[in-house]
Amino acid sequence: MMNQIESDLVFLARIKMHTVKVPLIHRTMADPELDFTTGESGASATIPMQCSALRKNGYVVLKGRPCKIVEMSTSKTGKHGHAKVNMVGIDIFTNKKYEDMCPSTHNMDVPHIKRNEFQLLNINDGFMSLMADNGDVREDLRVPDSELGKEIEQRFAAQEDILVSVLSAMGEECAVAIKQMTGK
């Protein structure tokens, strides 16, 4: 049994590795013409999970958006009713708040969340040139239109070496954090 699970993991890992190598399919709002969204990308973007197994600080899809769960509580109708889960989530890309309630036996979609760190090499026409740990370079991500984006530009202009954390979920991507590079 054990072996089977392990081989599952390895297998799954391989599949994912494969998808990573393919140019990322994404849907950055700033960049509509690069929208290659196809039906299949959504299929593996989430997995179903019973409501009761969700946790605060975890993630869930609310109204079709990937959200971080910031509040979770249960309630019931009548003393002998069954539990319902009430959730408040915040869209991890837009910061919009969503609420939802459903019977706790129901399944909800949990988005696959990835966080990757890249070294910032260049900024060209509003696009960042980012290098992954393995040396792969991508140039398809815009500098975010936010305070953080301004800071990225400033720091780059000041010739600082910085790492950019990129959050991706459900085919969407965004830079969410930066960090001074320390001599590794």
Partner: protein
């Protein structure tokens, strides 16, 4: 000036906001304020009072007089004060139509004059009382009202410290006025009694008269009795008095001087008479009942001997009975009456109660029984109607509490005297909680059933907690009348379970024939569930006590009941009924000859069985999770008390109980197996019900946390299945919430320490813990782990492992710590690697820190030196990695602040846990030496707790902002931590980097001055060790030395100039003394500069004396324990003698 002020003054009073500008209004206010401060305004004020028609101006004039009299007291002639007072009184008397607030203010001025005068004996209170009694005897209601207002003003001015006017005198003055007033109080009481007496004799009262009556009654209640208590408590500190004044229910403990006034039976009779007369008026009834409740709580030196107490009580009970009997109690009377009874029962000693004439006592108990049942029914009605103000519920609670007090030491009373009452109260409780036809639940007064489904959120307490007091009383009464109550509960429950079974079957049929699952009628089911819910709760409270502490014992009454009937019991049939929860109890031959205690458990097991079978028939949708909770709650409570009953703990043991549940019995084995099966079934079908799953897993923990029970558990095949299933992380167990999964892991680990032969044990661990380790290692050792670590499956596996580690740590006990520690230690080092890999993933980082927190929390106190060292090192590395990864990181996502807050809280918790080793240490001393080179001593340590903690503080401090300190939990944890550090490693403080040192000192100051009193106390506790550290090194002009000097000033101000509460005085005193030792010269300067500001020579002298006395016993102050204790004692005196002097109110 007069016209001016009158003109302006009319502005706030009369002119609407639209007509006056803000400046005009401010100007008017300013005019009033300066008017009140003007010198000798008496003539002007008198003139205003006589001529002005504007109420607000009159009010201001009265205020001005009041303030000026006190301010200029020593300059005024006695005679002019007297004439001023007479003027004010006459003024009010002649103007019956004054606005109420103006009249009250003028009378307050009179009261303040009297009060100030009483201090230097320039005004004789007797004179005032004479005038007042003349006013009272005038027979004119208006005048009598005025007299009442005068008395009320006097009392509120003299009695309570919180209601005292702000007249710029120190607290000490207010205190001494209060003591002087004590004799006069008796006079007021007598006067009030006379008025009440007179009114109670009148046949018909008109509206005006009854309003006067009401005022006097209120006066009698609120003023006289409250004041009486304040005086009784007069010797206590200010703080306590304010506390007592805030509670209405203080027991009356008057001094001997009150004997004549209060023991007079006419006083009590008067209040009964008065109440009878006015009971329909809910406001007045409240006052008269409150008076009676006070009388019912009378105790102490006022009674010359026991017989006086007995006859007082007899008179009270007679009065009470004749008051209650023959009337229909008004809603507004319920709480008052229950207060009288509850005061009476809790105040008078058992010996006095039993000394009452037998018949009277019986009538009292009968009356109490009827009253309890009736209030219970009314309380149930209140619930149906969903009333906001639950007066009957409150009254019912009070009476049930009184029953508990009564029956708890029932050996003082005639044997069996409470059985019949207990049966009645018990029956009525059950009746109120069962649905029709057996009961009256949800029936309104006219018999209409109401059925509402409210939305209930998770914050609402479960009935078993919400009504725990009621249930405890009912359970206790049920034990008193076990003969009746246990069989009653059994038959009611058995009958309902049979009905539930039938109803579920019918519903299933219905569902099979109908396409719409929503069409099933839940009403019948819900009624049954609610019945069963209450029956199980009552049974649980009856059979066993709260299982929180150590092994709870079988209640003596229950044991006795089982023993008394054991001769009529057929043990085999009993066991048969117990062992066949799937069958109807009544269908088993000889079912009438069973042990009732076991039979009641069997009834709950039958409920459980119906539930389990319904889940197997896929009827889970129809079941009640609440009932599921009730069942496992009951079973846990029951198992802690009855399972493997230890005969050594009891003088006498029931044969049926020991045969069924004793150690090495088939019964015990069977029931453990049954409970285990229940747990497994619940965990798989109820994963979606977090509370039920939690109660279930707690039942499992209960089964394995005691070695004896665990030994049986691990022999069950089911247990092994559960362990394997959980280790495989497959459904349904992986659907459980994370907290339930943790507890389940804890239970599985605890079970592993049960008695097994070594092969079995090895096998067990191979199946439970080993897979966890293997899977984890296989995963993280994969070459491409850094690449796949963000994959969802990988993340889930990691999270599950971390959760399991927390659960394992939770299972730590003293006898398993060594094996669990080595197991967990391997993981901790890998976790640090994870921290690096997941540096971008806040939720994982958070969970990793939590694992460390749990391990430190549960294990550090048991670890010897070498093991502690390993843990310290691991924690230090963790913090270093955390710090490296977060330094210079800037996050812009929405959860950034919340994540950081949680990380900080956890890190502080971790550091506090590590420090706790210095306080609580159960480690085996042998181990300390074993792992160490001889002679290396403490210097051999590679890492000390101090290093880890200070490093951690270094990480935390720059991140702690004042905004973050607004989170109470974070704030408390933070201050707990820095206080610990100062106490444990004072020598490390001066070595801190400058910035860190500064922010630490600033934190202390902030905590001392502007946080909660708890935090302030913590900070004060941190000061002594710091000052001692300075004294030790003898170095002056170090930053720490300077800082302590600053703290001396802060603590000095705190102790001498500010109001503070008693808890803080002790902590402040200790800190103060060490600081004074360190900075004697600065202390002298502080004292002198304080004295220099005193202009009053008397005050100056007293302060100077007090300061001298304070340090007399410890000159020169030195850090000597004996001197310190002496100083603290004088400080207490100092605070009480001068504290009030400088604190102006």
């Amino acid at each position: 000036m007069l016209l001016d002020s009158a003109a302006y003054s009319s502005i706030p009073d009369i002119a609407p906001p639209s007509m006056v500008s803000t400046e005009q209004r401010q100007h008017a206010e300013h005019t009033f304020l300066s008017f009140r401060k003007s010198k000798s305004p008496f003539a002007v004020c008198k003139h205003i009072l006589e001529t002005s028609k504007v109420d607000y101006v009159l009010f201001q004039a009265a205020t001005a007089i009041m303030e000026a009299v006190v301010r200029e007291w020593i300059l005024l002639e006695k005679a002019s004060i007297e004439s001023l007072r007479t003027f004010l009184l006459t003024y009010v008397l002649q103007r019956p139509n004054l606005q109420k607030y103006v009249r009250e203010q003028i009378l307050l001025a009179v009261a303040v004059i009297v009060k100030r005068g009483s201090l230097d004996k320039s005004i004789n209170c007797k004179g005032i009382f004479h005038e007042v009694s003349q006013l009272i005897s005038s027979g004119n209601p208006t005048v009598q009202t005025l007299a009442c207002s005068i008395l009320t003003a006097l009392i509120s001015e003299f009695s309570s410290s919180s209601k005292t006017s702000n007249i710029g005198l120190n607290m000490e003055f207010h205190g001494s006025c209060k003591r002087i007033f004590q004799d006069d109080l008796c006079q007021i009481f007598v006067l009030t009694m006379e008025v009440l007496q007179e009114f109670s004799r009148r046949e018909n009262l008109n509206a005006q008269m009854s309003s006067v009556f009401q005022r006097y009654l209120a006066l009698a209640n609120q003023a006289v009795f409250l004041m009486l208590m304040a005086l009784t408590l007069g010797s206590l500190g200010r703080h306590y008095i304010a506390m007592f004044e805030s509670t209405q229910n203080v027991m009356l403990k008057p001094t001997e001087t009150w004997r004549e006034a209060l023991l007079d039976t006419r006083v009590m009779d008067l209040f009964f008479t008065v109440h009878r007369k006015i009971r329909e008026d809910s406001d007045m009834a409240q006052d008269s009942l409150q008076c009676l409740a006070q009388l019912a709580s009378m105790h102490g030196p006022i009674f010359p001997d026991e017989s006086a107490q007995v006859s007082y009580l007899a008179h009270l009970v007679e009065g009470l009975l004749s008051m209650i009997n023959g009337i229909e109690i008004e809603d507004s009377e319920a709480v008052g009456i229950s207060n009288i009874i509850s005061n009476l029962i809790s105040t008078f000693p058992r010996a006095i109660l039993t000394a009452l004439p037998g018949e009277l006592f019986t009538s009292f108990i009968n009356c109490l029984t009827l009253l309890t049942c009736s209030f219970g029914r009314s309380a149930a009605l209140e619930e149906v109607l969903d009333k906001d103000d639950m007066v009957y519920m409150e009254a019912y609670d009070k009476l049930l509490e009184s029953w508990l007090t009564l029956v708890q030491d029932d050996e003082h009373f005639p044997r069996g005297c409470f059985v019949q009452p207990a049966i009645q109260v018990f029956n009525s409780y059950i009746q109120c909680h069962l649905a029709a036809p057996d009961g009256t639940r949800n029936l309104t007064a006219n018999g209409v059933a109401s059925h509402e489904e409210d939305e209930i959120n998770e914050l609402q307490e479960d009935d078993r907690e919400l009504f725990s007091d009621q249930l405890a009383s009912i359970g206790m009464l049920g034990r008193i009348a076990a003969n009746h109550c246990i069989p009653l509960l059994t038959s009611l429950l058995e009958e309902r379970v049979t009905r539930l079974h039938g109803q579920l079957q019918r519903t299933q049929q219905h569902l099979m024939n109908s396409s719409d699952p929503g069409s099933a009628d839940r009403k019948v089911l819900d009624d049954l569930y609610e019945d069963i819910h209450w029956l199980i709760l009552v049974s649980g409270y009856l059979l066993a006590d709260d299982p929180q502490g150590e092994t709870p014992l079988i209640p003596a009454e229950v044991m006795e009941y089982s023993i008394n009937h054991s001769t009529e019991v057929d043990i085999n049939t009993t066991l048969q009924i117990l062992g066949s929860p799937g069958e109807k109890a009544s269908s088993i031959p000889g079912c009438n000859r069973t042990d009732s205690v076991i039979r009641l458990l069997s009834a709950v097991l039958r409920t459980s069985e119906v539930e389990s079978r319904a889940t197997r028939a896929s009827l889970t949708e129809l079941l009640s999770p609440q009932m599921g909770k009730d069942i496992v709650w009951f079973l846990r409570r029951w198992a802690k008390t009855y399972l493997l009953v230890d005969e050594k703990l009891y003088g006498q043991i029931s044969i049926p109980l020991s045969t069924a549940f004793g150690a090495d019995t088939d019964g015990a084995q069977w029931i453990v197996g049954y409970l285990l099966e229940k747990v497994i079934n619940n965990l798989s079908v109820w994963s979606s019900e977090p509370e039920l799953a939690n109660d279930t897993v707690e039942l499992l923990v209960c089964l394995v946390e005691k070695r004896e029970r665990a030994n049986i558990v691990v022999q069950c095949e089911n247990w092994w299945n559960l362990a394997k299933q959980f280790a495989s992380r497959s459904p349904p167990l992986d659907l459980l919430s994370s907290s339930v999964q943790r507890t389940l892991m804890k239970a599985l680990v605890l079970g592993g320490f049960a008695h097994m032969d070594s092969d079995t044990k090895l096998q067990y661990w191979t199946e439970v813990l080993h897979p966890l380790q293997q899977r984890f290692l296989n995963l993280i050792n994969q070459e491409n782990f850094p690449q796949i670590c963000q994959e969802e499956n990988v993340k889930r596996e990691i999270v599950a492992t971390l959760e399991a580690l927390c659960g394992i740590a939770e299972a730590t006990q003293i006898d398993n710590v060594s094996s669990l520690f080595s197991f967990l230690m391997d993981f901790l080092s890998s976790c640090i690697g994870l921290m690096e890999v997941y540096r971008n993933t806040p939720e994982t980082v958070n969970l990793i820190i939590e694992v460390f927190v749990e391990v430190a929390h549960k294990q550090i106190c048991y670890l010897g030196e070498s093991k502690s060292m390993k843990l310290y090192e691991a924690c230090l590395t963790l913090l270093q990695v955390y710090s490296k990864n977060n330094l210079g990181r800037k996050r812009a996502d929405v959860a950034a602040e919340e994540d950081q807050y949680q990380d900080l809280l956890l890190i502080m918790e971790l550091l506090t846990n590590l420090l706790s080793k210095e306080f609580i240490d159960f480690s085996d001393t042998d181990e300390v030496f074993r792992g160490q080179e001889p002679g290396s001593g403490a210097t051999g340590r590679s890492v000390s707790a101090a290093d880890v903690v200070l490093f951690g503080v270094n990480i935390i401090l720059p991140l702690m902002s004042q905004d973050l300190l607004k989170f109470p939990s974070l704030c408390n944890q933070y201050y707990k931590l820095i206080t610990f550090i100062c106490e444990i490693f004072p020598e490390k403080i001066p070595q801190l980097p400058e910035e860190l040192f500064k922010s630490l000192m600033y934190s202390l100051e902030l905590g001392m001055t502007s946080m909660s009193s708890e935090v302030s106390q913590l900070c004060l506790e941190a000061l002594s060790p710091l000052a001692e550290q300075c004294a030790k090194t003898q170095e002056k002009d170090t930053p720490l030395f300077m800082a302590t000097r600053h703290f001396l000033k802060l603590v000095f101000d705190m102790l001498v100039l500010q109001k503070h509460n008693t808890e803080i005085t002790v902590a402040a005193g200790e800190a103060f003394y060490t600081l004074v030792c360190l900075h004697q010269a600065e202390y002298q300067e502080l004292v002198e500069s304080l004295l220099a500001t005193q202009r009053d020579a008397v005050v100056y002298q007293r302060l100077a004396d007090a300061f001298n006395k304070l340090t007399a016993s410890s000159t020169p102050p030195s850090m000597d324990r004996k001197q310190k204790v002496a100083f603290l004692k004088s400080l207490e005196e100092f605070v009480s003698s001068v504290g009030g002097l400088l604190c102006v109110k």
